[in-house]
């Protein structure tokens, strides 16, 4: 295979990795921003505020964890693909 073609194949893999990485990060941020809205409303009511705060923290940790895991797996797959080619 020609050098230019090999370089472009690697480039396509790198670009796919970058697109997935940025997309997951951005979508994760939108997810968190939308989820923050009902908790902000609940925080105005002293009766439910302490509980909703704890639920929000738990949900945020899970969300960040899930999106972070997707990004890690994406990078691992990209690295493995680069080694194989």
């Amino acid at each position: 295979m020609e050098t230019e073609t090999v370089r472009q194949l690697h480039g396509a893999k790198d670009l796919a990795r970058d697109v997935v990485d940025v997309a997951v990060q951005k979508i994760g941020n939108v997810h968190l921003a939308i989820a923050r809205r009902p908790y902000a409303m609940l925080a105005r009511f002293p009766v439910v505020a302490p509980v909703s705060k704890q639920v929000e923290q738990l949900q945020t940790e899970i969300t960040v964890g899930v999106y972070g895991a997707i990004r890690v797996v994406n990078r691992l797959v990209a690295t493995a693909a680069r080694r194989q080619s």
Binding site: E4, Q8, L9, H10, G11, D14, L15, K26, I27, V30
Partner: protein, 335 residues
Amino acid sequence: MAERTESSSIPRTQALTKWGISLVNGFFGDYLRDSENGLATDMALRHAGRPLSITPDALRSVHPDTTGRLVILVHGLGCHEGIWQYPEPGDPALTTTYGEGLHREHGYTPFYLRYNTGLALAENGAHFATLLNRLLSNYPTPVTEIVLIGHSMGGLVIRSACHYGASRQAGWVERVRRVFYLASPHEGAPLAKFAHWTTDVMQAARNPVTQLIGDALNARSQGVKDLRHGAPLHHDGQSAPWLGHARHYLIVGTLHGDTAHAASVLFGDGLVRQRSAKGGSSAATAWAGDEQAPPAEIDVLPGIHHLRLAHDPAVFHKISQQCRQRTGGVVDNGD
């Protein structure tokens, strides 16, 4: 000699990949370059799809019958040198280009540029000016005349390169006799302006989803963003001037066969409006009754859309006709 390629011999997937890479470069080229991605296109003259080394031997090997008259074709946004190919009128099984036609009819030696259209216009202009310096110092025959043909963004890159070349007093600049701008958006392109406006609105909205869409739109390349203004701005804040001693030909297309039709007036050739392709206000100011202004000619070709202007026998006929003439002044053949 320009290549003659049997279009059926190019595998379809290979051709699609080539176009895909050019499109990705057009819209994300600056990111690809900055992240050292292998898809980033390096500026180079191309022959038969491969980069051409600018050495006397390499130049002689691809053009054994080199002449002192050069024609260099510069493609537009998201394209590559394949945009210039069209079926040979006498033999549709073969393809030809404006470069090959000018070689055949007027003895010009053709060169085709490929570059990363996602980079800033001024940056590509500066690179192109440097490349022309190298080409002239390695060219096996003394160069007497250079003709530059730019399609769409390519015309703006040429304007920028001429500006850089002139400011550095490069030897090639004085040899540029004619510059053809095929649907070049000298005063910007409506789609680029719309994308800029939409991005601003989306990002200003206090909604995470619209902000996400705004961020995605804002990821477009600097090359695309520059098309909002048209003629490239340089460090001095001025748009690249028209090369003083060269003759400028502005070829304009329209969507409809009637240039006064609403579609032609509103959308021009589909991507560039007629006023912008005719040079906009900078050209009007430069050419309105100013005897010092560079000579220019404007041709409107009704019914030829934006992309087709790069590969249409009628456009070649105009170019070939102009390469035969030697006159001054402004002639507007359009409506």
